[in-house]
């Protein structure tokens, strides 16, 4: 049995000033999550991640379509489901005036259990929080707040964890630690569904869904998503990076030109030209414009390259009135 099965899910919200007929938050979304899988929803704010998760945890009813979690319908069997789901909302939603220990004790008691009887399960996370057990939740750092929220979501022994952007606004080191914890929980057999706007976190998942404007662009393993990138990707390095970027963008054969850290990622419109020709042409273009130190080589695409290729520039859409 799949841990999550979602079929043609639709959710609309009442119209805003600009969007007569209402905004579609989810547009016929379908996917499955296998038992024991670490499954990620990757996409920017406003894509529909939170709406989808709120439906999965029975806090919101869909307008059409069907979703089951652990074999239970999210609308008809919501009461039974709530006992079995661990949920972390995107916004920090613990009690800021209670201490670390008081928060955990409170959430345990709501589900009729105690910290002591659940200790084995939460130990890997609680051990990191114990030095701060008497500190008020409001006074914790961002990374520690998220660990406490994860602990509270686990304390009633859920069979599935649904985590909405647990690493947003958290620094790179704490993010890494949080993902290590998720890996540990997965090892223990727990199904984990998690969303993130950070594309570099995709590789931590067994499978990912790219989500954008209420649509799933792709559902696959991170490797599968990357393999679907359908043209050579060139990495360009130059001392005067921003000027080189502008020069490449003016190039008649340029398809896409984006900065990725200290490398410019470039694709060409000539999809059937051999790689040697593409690199030679780009090199020649840069040399002709005085970028003597520029290097050009083929590089492996990332999940973020795929996402950009699939969504294009939001400018065009806004100008065309689609947004």
């Amino acid at each position: 049995m799949n841990a999550v099965a979602v079929e043609a899910l639709v959710k609309k919200f009442p119209s805003t000033s600009r969007r007569a007929g209402g905004a579609i938050a989810l547009d016929r979304v379908s996917f499955d999550v296998g038992a024991g899988e670490l499954f990620g929803f990757i996409g920017p704010d406003g894509g529909g991640k939170t709406t989808l998760f709120r439906i999965l945890v029975t806090l919101l009813k869909p307008d059409a379509g069907r979703a089951t979690v652990l074999g239970r319908d999210v609308v008809k069997e919501f009461r039974a489901l709530r006992q079995k789901v661990g949920y972390m909302a995107g916004r920090f939603s613990l009690y800021p005036d209670l201490s670390v220990e008081e928060n955990l004790r409170f959430f345990a008691s709501v589900f009729g259990t105690t910290i002591e009887s659940e200790h084995a399960r939460i130990a890997p996370i609680y051990s990191q929080l114990e030095p701060f057990r008497d500190r008020r939740a409001a006074a914790l750092s961002g990374g520690m707040k998220q660990k406490l929220a994860l602990c509270c979501a686990l304390v009633h022994r859920p069979e599935i964890l649904i985590l909405d952007e647990p690493t947003t606004g958290v620094d790179a080191v704490s993010r890494r630690e949080f993902w290590e914890l998720l890996g540990t929980l997965k090892q223990g057999g727990l199904t984990v569904v998690v969303s993130t706007p950070y594309m570099d976190e995709a590789n931590r998942c067994d499978r990912i869904a790219l989500i954008h404007r209420g649509h799933l662009l792709a559902v696959d393993s991170p490797d599968g998503i990357i393999r679907a990138f359908d043209r050579p990707l060139l990495g360009v390095r130059a001392g005067a990076r921003y000027k080189a970027l502008l020069a490449l963008r003016q190039y008649e054969h340029a398809n896409s030109v984006y900065p990725f850290g200290d490398v410019i990622h470039y694709t060409d419109t000539r999809t059937d030209a051999p790689l040697e020709q593409l690199t030679a042409d780009v090199r020649a273009l840069l040399a002709s414009q005085g970028f003597d130190d520029a290097s050009v080589e083929r590089i492996e695409p990332t999940v973020e390259d795929t996402f950009i290729a699939r969504t294009g520039s939001p400018d065009e859409e806004l100008k065309a009135g689609v947004a």
């Binding site: 000033s17 947003t168 620094d171 790179a172 900065p259």
Partner: protein, 244 residues
Amino acid sequence: MSDKAIDVKELTRTFGSFTAVDHISFDVTSGEVFGFLGANGAGKTTAIRMLIGLLEPSAGTARVAGYDVYKESEAIKRNIGYMSQRFSLYEDLTPRENIRLYGGIYGLTLKQIRERTDRVLTRLGLGRVADDQVRSLPLGWRQKLAFSVALIHEPRIVFLDEPTSGVDPVTRRQFWELIYEAAAAGTTVLVTTHYMDEAEYCDRISIMVAGRIGAIGTPAELKQQFGVASIDELFVKLARPGAA
């Protein structure tokens, strides 16, 4: 006036027995894009609040846009721009109204406000939605507009606190092109981010660790100095010593 937009010496702030910022010294040159990095709780926000005149230091000196943070904090506020992920624009006002509001607060003339409104709306391609409520715009557009509004009074320095959190990858890059444009026009930019690829876009970066500056330099210099392949790796090395 010197070409140092920000000049900080031994700046310190304590809260009771806790030292949030511990004798930090650095400077930022005019027109530089300076990445101000650090883990949550390392002291970045406290340092920035001192630099923008919202929090008095416990010790040390700092000059921002040539003004002293102790005696001239009001002059600093007039000469800097600020935007953050959490608060930047009034969502129930339109783009045009936000620009007029901030222009008015900074004492621009009606003529200046008119000209700059046209310039911003044209540059961002927001003409079609100039009179819609800001809340109806996609997040990425709000953030690009917020950046332009933070620059509406043409400040010497702009402080950007996690400006691209949660923004889609294309818009994130477009946002950085706005930063480069502003820097090329002479504006100094101090920016914080949790995206480590963005750290590589900066001219120089500093990484705060437990109230001190753990590393400072160009991304290339730092990678060489610490023998790491990326700023991400350096960040982990400094912020969590002993880990892999």
